[in-house]
Symmetry: C2
Amino acid sequence: MAEDADTLPPKAQFSEWYNDILWRAEIMDVRYPVKGLYVWYPYGFALRKHVYQRLRDLLDREHQEALFPLLIPEHEFMKEAEHIKGFEDEVYWVTHGGTTPLEVKLALRPTSETAIYPMYALWVRSHADLPLRIYQIVNTFRYETKQTRPLIRLREITSFMESHTVHATWDDAESQVESEIALTREFYESLSIPVIVSKRPDWDKFPGADYTIAFDTVMPNGRTLQIGTVHHLGTHFSKTFGITYEDEKGEQQLANQTCYGISERCIAAIIGVHGDDRGLILPPPVATTQIVIVPILIGKRHEDVLAAAQNLEEELKAAGHRVRTDNRDMRPGAKYYWWELRGVPLRLELGPRDIDAGKVIAVTRLGEKVSLDRTGIAGSVKQVLAAISQAMKAKAEEHVKRSLQPATTIDAITTALNAGRVAVVPWCGDRACGDAIEEKADSSILGTEVRSPYVSDTGGFCVICGKPGKATLVGRTY
Amino acid sequence: MAEDADTLPPKAQFSEWYNDILWRAEIMDVRYPVKGLYVWYPYGFALRKHVYQRLRDLLDREHQEALFPLLIPEHEFMKEAEHIKGFEDEVYWVTHGGTTPLEVKLALRPTSETAIYPMYALWVRSHADLPLRIYQIVNTFRYETKQTRPLIRLREITSFMESHTVHATWDDAESQVESEIALTREFYESLSIPVIVSKRPDWDKFPGADYTIAFDTVMPNGRTLQIGTVHHLGTHFSKTFGITYEDEKGEQQLANQTCYGISERCIAAIIGVHGDDRGLILPPPVATTQIVIVPILIGKRHEDVLAAAQNLEEELKAAGHRVRTDNRDMRPGAKYYWWELRGVPLRLELGPRDIDAGKVIAVTRLGEKVSLDRTGIAGSVKQVLAAISQAMKAKAEEHVKRSLQPATTIDAITTALNAGRVAVVPWCGDRACGDAIEEKADSSILGTEVRSPYVSDTGGFCVICGKPGKATLVGRTY
């Protein structure tokens, strides 16, 4: 198996590398016999578990986790006109139970507004019930007609975190949007993934939202990947589903709402942003295995070394690290390849001479090698893992910074995009000019009101009409 | 809300009590607009989370968690004849994506053999790959035509743990069955739920299994609830799906398999077995909140008491307990009702006099009251919680023991069952006699080879034909 690493395509061939690493590193098996559905291997599933635990820990500060049904009856699903228009082509319909046609067709949730909001209409009674902040992490379904891609474009999204909040006023809901943005930043910070926040253009907002704020990251090939969205729903859905509350004066008011989602694309981002020619590089906070111990068994001191390795493993586990000792009968070099491919952030090597010297050799997945004192190892390992996170973040930030390319003509946009970059373009905000940009540069308008340290809104003139414009992200998207 | 407890039906009216407690204690909302689908409230979801974490901890000792798709293509689903016969009437079918009819109909998994085993056929190559032990916790679907009941008979089973193992030999698979039985016993032990293990009669085994071992518990009304099953699959599925391995001699062999499932019925059992007229009684290891602190705010020492309560909460949290302090502006008595309804196993009361005396008043959900020293409280609370688990177990065991009633005539069986008991009946093992018992006593044969301290197989003569028979459980089931 160690030989696999030798045949991993270079990361510069990103599509091939991505498809290959998924099975080589045992993240997903793509051979399931339905298009767009994939199997999580145990190793990948453990990564998913740690990533979503991170997300839960952040959400649990002020949200509560719950669980709503997968199946949505047609009449509920069809209630909100704009919303259904946005999803009707991609909804899977359950029409039969056994051989019996169902009286009411059931939709597999593509997202859960229409499953959750009829319940919210029952739950919300008074201003004292607000804010209500609930999330669930569930499988959702989209009948994608475009090319599917594991973790990125799926027919079964296995890991959709969707949060749905209810507030008294539009402003309260807006504050919630800001607080979800901060939460999402903190989440991706812990994964060392840089995000660019922007407001999606009106025609690309969530069906039924007042506005949509999106999080994008830049993949190695320059394509942007949307890895989160927060929607201010205003009163669109509360009107439709009758979510009202009695205010302090005893009057019934329509509630304001937000919803917010993060899917397993967060794991696609981890894989794509951080990996290298040798395989995955997993962020220490969420790595399936954070530390692998490789005992160097030379000469007569096998037992001695194995005992020392076990001792080391126990000490690190007690300190809360996820550690494995690789005692397999293989050359150390083959073991190194094996764990590098799987992205383990830190390798500890321990041989007879290290034991005698009271040392442990630490090699980071980024290639740094240091000798650590065996005494106090749990603390120094913690520092090394934090430094790895920092270095991963810096490298990824550097990539995003380099990717953002100001462009004031259509040619410049096209050149930037062809070179694997994301263009920052002055745009007046009109739909017609937006359509022209998208068409002429074979691109997508990602958003305005860009929040990124690398984009400053210095104004400028719309690349199409020449009227005053504002800095707008234009890219090619997944 | 505290008044709710006053109107909870007595537990002797078990059906009404069960339906009522679910919403009063905020476990599930049954008002979702599709029959057989329910919503987990945050409080219920947290209970579910702790229960399934317990199960995961046990499984993770020798299994690995993974995740397979929900949708199974018709051709895979239809491969194993016996299996499909067992499920065809209750499978939900997805027939359309948007308005487009699908080329291949997709089944919502009622269980995942036919989703997982095509992958196992790819994964298992050599004897070195065995044993393979994987589980997943997923939503599964059954188009139930019988009356649905929250947590018990569902159309969406939201929390199905299914384990699927692969072994070289039939005997290896049998050892795995025994090891799953031990694991399940340990799981229910931690929930203070007694289980009776037996072998289901042939006509009631899992479709495609060599044999089925089931776990039943006895609900307050005497109906048995199946809360787990382990199936020895032999080579039925490996033949169909081509799961073979190369043995030590280089020859291809059919693999032997087991599968094993536990659903959210484990939570129905917690609710049904332990609750009382005042509400839920949650087992300490999995209770959403294990300890509630109620500060007794009398006279001028409000701040003093609140600070002492906070201090107490922090100390108990640091010791790993799930604790909440109820600072609401309500009478202490109303708070007691509130938390009793929700099943919190331990209440700590703290007033000015307790503070002065260096004491904390501890009241268990079973009604015992003791005064604990404030010093060393984390340790003594741990002991009290363990004692609560023990007492719950003893009470539940006593109920099962009293429920088991030897019966050697059809009349005696009927009398026992009508009295809310489970009959232990000598049966020869023939299908015809089994059918006669089931029909004449309006009962179900649960199983033979009963493993329970309260059932000894002393032999006897079949109640129908008079031939030598063996102790068999006969009951009325959910």
